[in-house]
Point group: C3
Chain length 205, copies 3
């Protein structure tokens, strides 16, 4: 039986790997070489956490201290390098796992910010930054407008999850339960928005 | 009667709002959805201050602690969302307010750096970074070459204001007076450069 | 006779200047004005070091405290401004000096990280970031995909140099010797890869 901590670590590992995989697949499509694939994989997998740690003053960031985050993104890069044609056909599962990463990173970022003494508002904001940071860097490094700015309900799903987590804790609910529920909320919103083609309104020209 | 502090806070609020507005208008023109508009508005309004705080080691940055900066940029985003066609016709006033933001942020950044013990040179540099940071991020996030690199006397106006502020303080002049004069100097240089089409020389091909 | 320290400082100065020069030349080619040239020159010359210092928590970064790094990049910018046509014809020497900058910055970054208590893995990683950071910012600010992602053996040369440095120190070899050898290794790999057109494999479409 998995304890809450084990579950959480498992989701975190999965999020880093899958975010890395999305970066690696973009690199493969662009025709980057193996090293470029590994770099973009690492950028997407760890950039959100680095931004979070720098803004909290928790430096050096974990990625410079522990081996596992980059080991995971390298593994993701190698998987993309060797199996890109297979993964291309799997875009539904990749989208699902990406939603998991989004939810986990949003709650992980929010949680760390609360531990470091930030108020609820700042913690939610930092959760969103942690969740979307990697993807923004991926798009900037491939000279594209970040998808989060013009497409679908993405950052909003992270925002909902992080806000639910902060509110649940403030209401005195047990941490493991709140974390699980908040992660699931973000995942469900993200997946539902893709399935149903939810969009936000645009300004009139 | 406004005290110096009240005047300063007023200008700071105005700068954050107007910088947010310039980001939001770019987002509207690009056809981003409401959330994208709010994100780009926030990026332009607060990014310069975040960079300043990170480089000074003053983390977490104010935007994660206080509510008002993001409240202001959200307000700017909503104004752009609902009234974009009206604002398009107002580009002269928006340019004027943008010049105000530039001057205020340059002096605010320089001042904070001096308070944190930086020398005059570093403080002036950080003032310029604070003033131009948001605009640079706006342009990078919309996949454009930052305007500050190839257009008009923009960063130079911030540089002149910040340098005047640091020199005035070093000369022992009263702080409120120096701040006001330095902000006005940056604003006047910026506006004059737009009105008169001032440009800097380019290298011969 | 140069002591090790003098040699090292000389290489560091050369690296900052040459990295600044590569940024300035891109700015000249893009038709940026003088200020844009100086800004891009500064970005390429100092950005890697700023990222390194922020990630190590050593703030404010050196560029805000000492005058010489920006003085060097400004000098590089002026050289490009006045002598761009001459430099265009010298691209072989510029490439050689750029390789020197790459090697020096990789080892300087790795060394500083070790001094700040990072493990070998993180120190090597930070060395690579220090070496490639400026070039990545240059490419992002000119709305291009960073060259390091899709071209040649560039970051890999920095990685080899930094890793050799960390391994050599761990093996108890004398610091000056290890540093010199590691810098030379990075330079040789970089130059050899350009001369021989070495590339890394790409994923099959």
């Amino acid at each position: 039986m998995l304890s809450g901590l084990t579950l959480y670590a498992l989701l975190d590992v999965m999020g880093t790997f899958v975010f890395g995989l999305t970066g690696a697949m973009v690199a493969v499509r662009r025709g980057f070489d193996l090293f470029g694939i590994l770099v973009l994989s690492a950028a997407v997998g760890v950039a959100g956490g680095v931004v979070r740690d720098v803004l909290l003053g928790d430096v050096p960031p974990a990625v410079l201290v522990d081996l596992w985050p980059l080991a995971l993104t390298c593994a993701a890069g190698l998987v993309a390098f060797f199996f890109a044609p297979v993964i291309e056909r799997l875009d539904r599962p990749v989208m699902l796992l990406d939603a998991v990463g989004l939810g986990v990173f949003a709650i992980a970022g929010c949680n760390k910010a609360l531990v470091f003494g930030l108020g609820g508002f700042g913690a939610v904001l930092l959760g969103v930054l942690t969740a979307i940071g990697g993807g923004v860097l991926r798009d900037i490094m491939t000279a594209q407008v970040p998808r989060v700015l013009h497409e679908e309900v993405y950052a909003l799903a992270a925002l909902a999850g992080a806000a639910a987590y902060a509110l649940g804790l403030a209401a005195g609910l047990p941490g493991g339960l709140v974390a699980t529920g908040a992660v699931l909320l973000a995942i469900v919103i993200r997946i539902a928005s893709v399935r149903n083609g939810w969009t936000l309104p645009k300004a009139r020209g």
